[in-house]
Structure formats: structure tokens, C-alpha cells
Amino acid sequence: MTATTESPQVVLAASEIGNPVVNIGIFLAFVAVTLVIVLRASRTNKTAADYYAGGRSFTGPQNGTAIAGDYLSAASFLGIVGAIAVNGYDGFLYSIGFLVAWLVALLLVAELLRNTGKFTMADVLSFRLRQRPVRMAAAITTLAVVFFYLLAQMAGAGGLVALLLGIDGSVGQGVVIAVVGALMILYVLVGGMKGTTWVQIIKAILLIAGAGVMTVWVLAKFGFNLSDVIQGAINTSGNPALAEPGARYGGSETSKLDFLSLALALVLGTAGLPHVLMRFYTVPTAKEARRSVVWAIWLIGIFYLFTLVLGYGAGALVGADTINAAPGGVNSAAPLLAFELGGEILLGIISAVAFATILAVVAGLTITAAASFAHDIYASVIKKGEIAPDGEVRVARITVVAIGFLAIIGGIFANGQNVAFLVALAFAVAASANLPTIIYSLFWKRFNTRGALWSMYGGLGSCIVLIAFSPVVSGKLNPDGTSASMIRNTGVDFAWFPLENPGLVTIPLAFLLGIVGTLTSKERPDLEKYAEMEVRSLTGAGSEKAVAPH
């Protein structure tokens, strides 16, 4: 963040904003309601298809709402509203990339994937290639994407806690992160995909309704005139460029390239996010998968239109200086705006929704990682498919606990990083390591195992290397001389890659590696398998059916 945070205004102490008791009370009510639903849903969890795919019994609209709940993460809500409030127009670009990306999923991926696969992304990728190496690679890239995404969510939890509960110390925040993580483990452990889906549906409705109410409220204050809202933000900040592009990314040629890189990663990343792909298996047919995406696009699009108003509204009514100075920084823009509008009750509701957001997204990520480990690595690679389905689910449950612990520790470590930004890294890995192989295996007959492995490992490896040697990890300074990198020691600087998002390099590289790997390999395409995959993907013949209700 380039804006300086020095402000003549008195820094608001966290305890002065809202009433922590109200915030916690509303959140506990959400937890109680969802817990009951998860417990009820868990009673019908019997088979692997129940645990991983919710029995494939959700309708398109239900799944579409759950997708929105899964996708509209803390980064979307807190990060984008904050970015628009502080940086103006450039914050808006996140939401456009996040939305347009859904067309890739709608047109090229969702239905074909639903028709071909069973539980995970690897089911599709390994369909006509050599099973074990491809499954292994797909599982590793899945776990990597989930890890980045999880970190982002948990980091967001820390900032939120600081703001809402008045807990400033890192120890206290760590304790709350641990509690959020433990709750999530409980949900996923008990409820499986069914429970997770219901948590996401409830959360999506609360989030979109909450944001909708705030949007109408903000607009009402400005006579339902968007131009006046933006003018208000310009007046409060004294920065006339707030409506123009360039505040965040216009400073130098490097930052312009960085912006291009981010834009590419956002638009191509969504259709490679394993937790999004896995949601397509929770519906009975490809037609329902299509309906899911249509619903998701409408809900997500409308929500992002809300964030535009909320962002400028926060800039106008709260002010960028106050937001930057608040505990939680830019991520506090949406809660601060809620407090400004509706006092501590609205703040309590919005805070609870934000907590629920983190909980729901983390639950979706965790079950994806668990399915990938248990189904792809344990059952298929280690046990070579010779394992009883309930044994697989048992391993998945153990994995849930392990990932939960990892998320808690990672969350405490990543506490304070900008949330939207970490998610952008997850998108870069998804777009580089997953998307090329998904597209090639669905549409390119000649594609083979070496192409898949080169593309996946090359995409993942190049992403991780370039991120490690980018300003994100070391050597980036704030204008006031403090470190803006993950490594806070300003003396440590081993960054040589100038961009914060590696997508501009890694996405074309991974597509290229898929082609080169395929063409240099002598492996011939398995024509029978290819015919089966193509016919299944387009007609739905032989696809996994819904589990009959128990």
C-alpha cells in the first residue's frame, strides 16, 4: 500500500468502535444456527460421495449460492472495499477480474468437468493420462493453491479480530485465530461437504443481503447518485484522482506490469481453483452445474457492484486516513463503514458476517485439500486404488485435522498481510499450475502425460520461485522506511524478480511447457480413453449419479 498512514486524526482505539459483546453475541448466534444445520446434514453422511460431494444432491441454485459463498471470501468483502476506499479506481479492478473469470468456468470447464470427474480435479486430469504421476502432480498443485488461499483467509481473521474484539496484542489475536480454526475443523469433520455447503449458502445470503442493505443506505445518503458518492470520497480524501486509474498501480513501469500480471492471474485463475471445481460435483447433472454457474455469476456480479459503492462510501463517510490508521488497516474499511451507518448493531451484524465468511471459505478449502489428499494421494497413489471407500473417508477426516492445524499456525504467521493480495497469489498458482492442464486435457487430443507434468510442476515451481524472490517476501519498503514485505527485517533483501504477482511470466510459461512436453514425448494418446472422455464430457453418459436420499 503506497498511501502514507500519518494522519492528524486521533487513532481510534479498537475498543471505541462498536461493542465487542454485541459482535461476539451475533457471531455466536451464527455459529449456533450453522452448527445445528451441520449436525443435521451429517446424519446422512455415509459414503465417500456423501462426504466429498454432498451426495451430488444439491440443486443448481443452491450450489450457485454456495459457490458465491465459497468465492466471496474475506478478500472480496474486506479487501476490495478497503482497496477502493483507499486507492479508488484501482481497487475496482480486482472485482472485474474476479467476475469475468467466471466465464472461463462457465464456457470451458464446469459442465465438462462435472460429466467426467468424480470428486477432485485430478479425476479429470488423470482420466486419459498415466494415473499415478498425474494424480500426484494434480494433488500437489491443489494443496499448494489451497495453502495460499487458506493463509489469506486466516490472515484476514487476525485483522478482523483486532478491529472487532478490541484485541490488539498478537497473542490474543493468535488465540482467536485458533478458535476460528478449531470451529472450522469441527464443521468439516462432522458435516463433510453437505455441512460445508449449507454453511456457505447461509453465509452467502447473509453477506449479499448485508452488503445490499449497506449499499442502499450509502446511496440514500447521497441521493442515489453514484457520482456524488465518488465526489464525497474525493472531498474527504482531498485526492481528486480517486476516480481515475493509477493510484495503486500507476506509479512506475514495474507497477503497471504488476497490474497486468495480476489482471491475467485473476481472470484465468478462477477456473483452476480446486475448491471451486470441486463444487461442481455436488450437483446431479451438467445442466445443474451450468445453472450453478449462472446463479453464481449473478450473485457475485451484483455483490461486486455493491462493493464499488461501499468502497467509495467508506472513502467518503469514514475517510482513507481513518481506515489506514485503524487496527486492521485497509481491511477495516467495511466494518468501519457499517459502524458509521448503523452504529454498533450493524457493525455487529457485518462483523459476524465477515467472520462467517472466513469460516465458510476456510471450510470449503479444507474439505478440498482433504479430498485431494485422501482420494488422490492416499487412495490412488499410495494404496493404488485398493482401499475401501470408508477407509478413504477416514483418511480425509484425519487430513482435515492436520490442515486445520496448519491453517491456524499459518494464520498466526501471516497475520497483518493484505488479504486481497495473498488471494491474488493463490490465483496465480491456480492459473499457472492448473488451468493449462485442464484446458489441454479437455480439448487437445494429442496432450499426454509429460505435457501435463511439465505444465503443472513447471507452473507451480516457477510461481513459487518467483514469489520467493519477489518484493512480497523481502526488500519492499513503505515510504516511511518500514518493511512492506513478509520478512520484516529491512536488512534482508534477496528480491530480484520485480513483480509482486508472477502470473505474467508463469501462465504463458505453463501453457508453453504443456505443448513442449507433449510434443517431445513419444507417448501416444489413448484413443479409447479419449473417445470415452470426449463423449462423456459432452453428453453426460456414464457420469456419476446423485446418491439417492437416505
Binding site: 469475468v100 466465464l103 470451458l108 457520482s227 486509474p245 498501480y249 500507476g250 463423449v535 456414464g542
Partner: protein, 127 residues
């Protein structure tokens, strides 16, 4: 991608034969060869590939303008509403429009044929 006419069974060319007998085709391969399926596939690709190209080009145009044409994007149209904001909102409009267009097209044109093929295959019980 590959020319559809070349995607064919292994029968024509003995060199392609797999271990299980040169002249046998799986049911999936027979369906893949059928004119109905070829037609379904061709129409699917003719719709989604150009559409994908269109929205990606439009999105990248927008991104490049926001990145490198600040003055143009900052041109005020009405109050503080400028070209950049309108183009951004335009991305929302095209996304919604393509979504509805595709859903209607797929429901009407593709689903009946896909369903018929599926029933034909599953009726033969090859799964």
C-alpha cells in the same frame, strides 16, 4: 485444435491397433464417430471458442487501457463518472449478457441432442 474429421477410430490404420484387436471399437468410439456427436461437438466449439476469445480480448483491452491510457480513462462523462468507470461497468454488462446467452443456447440447442446421445449410450449399458 484438431480437425474433427481426423478424430477417428483406430480401425482405418492397423498401426493404431491396440492389443485388443485391430478392428474392434469401443461403444464410446462408435458414438464419437457418429455424425450426431460430431455435430454436437462442432457446434459446442463454434460457440465457446469465439465467445471465449471475445471476452478475453475485451477484458484485456480494458485492462491495458486502465493501465496505460490514464488520460483517456479519466475523461469525465457525467459528474465524477468517467470513461474508465463506464468501461468497468461495461465488463459487468457483457459478463451477464454472455452468461444468459450461453445458458439459453445450451438449454435449447445442445441439451436435447446430448440427452438423446446419453440415453442411447446408457441404454446399451456399457458403463
Amino acid at each position: 485444435m484438431t480437425d474433427p474429421s481426423r478424430i477417428g477410430p483406430a480401425t482405418g490404420d492397423p498401426a493404431d491397433a491396440r492389443g485388443d484387436g485391430a478392428m474392434t471399437q469401443t461403444d464410446y468410439q462408435r458414438v464419437q464417430d457418429s455424425p450426431e456427436f460430431q455435430d454436437l461437438r462442432r457446434r459446442f466449439r463454434r460457440f465457446v471458442f469465439p465467445m471465449t476469445a471475445f471476452f478475453l480480448v475485451w477484458y484485456l483491452t480494458y485492462v491495458l487501457l486502465a493501465d496505460y491510457a490514464h488520460d483517456f480513462m479519466s475523461t469525465q462523462v457525467w459528474g465524477t463518472i468517467n470513461v474508465g468507470l463506464l468501461m468497468g461497468l461495461g465488463q459487468f454488462v457483457t459478463t451477464f449478457a454472455i452468461t444468459m446467452l450461453y445458458a439459453r443456447w445450451a438449454n435449447k440447442r445442445q441439451d436435447p441432442i446430448a440427452n438423446e446421445l446419453r440415453q442411447r449410450i446408457e441404454g446399451r449399458d456399457i458403463v
